[in-house]
Symmetry: C2
Subunit: 218 residues, 2 copies
Amino acid sequence: MEIKVLKDILSANDQIAQENRQLLDSKGVLMINIMSSPGAGKTSLILQTIAGLRGKTRIGVVEGDVSSSIDAERVGREGVPVIQINTGGECHLDANMVRRALNNLPLDDIDLLFIENVGNLICTAEFAIGAHKNAVIGSIPEGDDKPLKYPLMFTIADALLLNKIDLLPYLKFDSVAYEKAVKGLNNKVKIFPVSCTTGQGIDQWLKWLRSQLKPPQK
Amino acid sequence: MEIKVLKDILSANDQIAQENRQLLDSKGVLMINIMSSPGAGKTSLILQTIAGLRGKTRIGVVEGDVSSSIDAERVGREGVPVIQINTGGECHLDANMVRRALNNLPLDDIDLLFIENVGNLICTAEFAIGAHKNAVIGSIPEGDDKPLKYPLMFTIADALLLNKIDLLPYLKFDSVAYEKAVKGLNNKVKIFPVSCTTGQGIDQWLKWLRSQLKPPQK
């Protein structure tokens, strides 16, 4: 009698994440999972990016929050398609929440889809949603020790935006130690020092984003 | 036949939290659960408090982090008893982790015990550890919309320290809207605007803390 050993069975979440990715690929949509602590600047980065790519790249946004629709309202005023997900207590988005959002977005009219995850530097890193790239936002006022304390998030980042560099004159922050700690966890990550208030450094981020855009796969 | 209906059975975590509380009460130790986003200033607040109460109140500290012992080292240099808990991925402390720390602290020589929880504005609020009071730290750079987005944390706070007020001149932050949102969730919370960098406002916090101290219960 032959005994079947089933290997590599995807979890339900990973299975749905893979289906999300296939749907996005079929439509030529680049999906970016934006993660950070609360208040590091996820929405501000999305707003800067919408402004910077207006007329060039068609953007859609999914806003994930425990509660409220403040962020979706801010983004919606920019005239891009936006869906708010309220997790009602859950500390992260999962693939099924994102699937429901995808089903309610005009994917044929979107080139670049941002998923603004819940503000959480730990749990959001643990759940695949089907994104092509993970963009993590660090923030100068949070301090330079965050990569050592929250290593998983920095390990899975494809892009790391170090935001609020306009506050550097007023705070102690060792940029060299920070970058060294990040590279020790993940030497492939692209680091972008930016200020979403002044716009400093945003051009480099936009250039990287545009280089990642995908044609539809037939 | 009588049918027994068991009500109000505590979860395993809540049971251990209650036992932690009983142990602390028997020793006359006030335990404060300090919670915030990553980098809002939990360790800095503890360091300011140790300095402000030196020679008056005997302090102990438990440092909770996903990874690293950076904070325990900083606190240990002040000569107070400190235990580091590394959760190894878990996004919050639970009652059993704290119990193990209590068993390794000289509780007879401590009046005030700080538990620095993992940096997380969501999950830490959901797990009782046996603390007498919850102290939540908000931070000016995080923005004034946090109470609306993360309501549970603000609902369970006994004290809310609004930290980094030294950065107010450089940031947009509507203190009136913030306080209104907090009070809408929880009108009993005591709010302390502070700067753990300059020491501004710390005196009021120390006064409140001292008013909460407990004699041992025989």
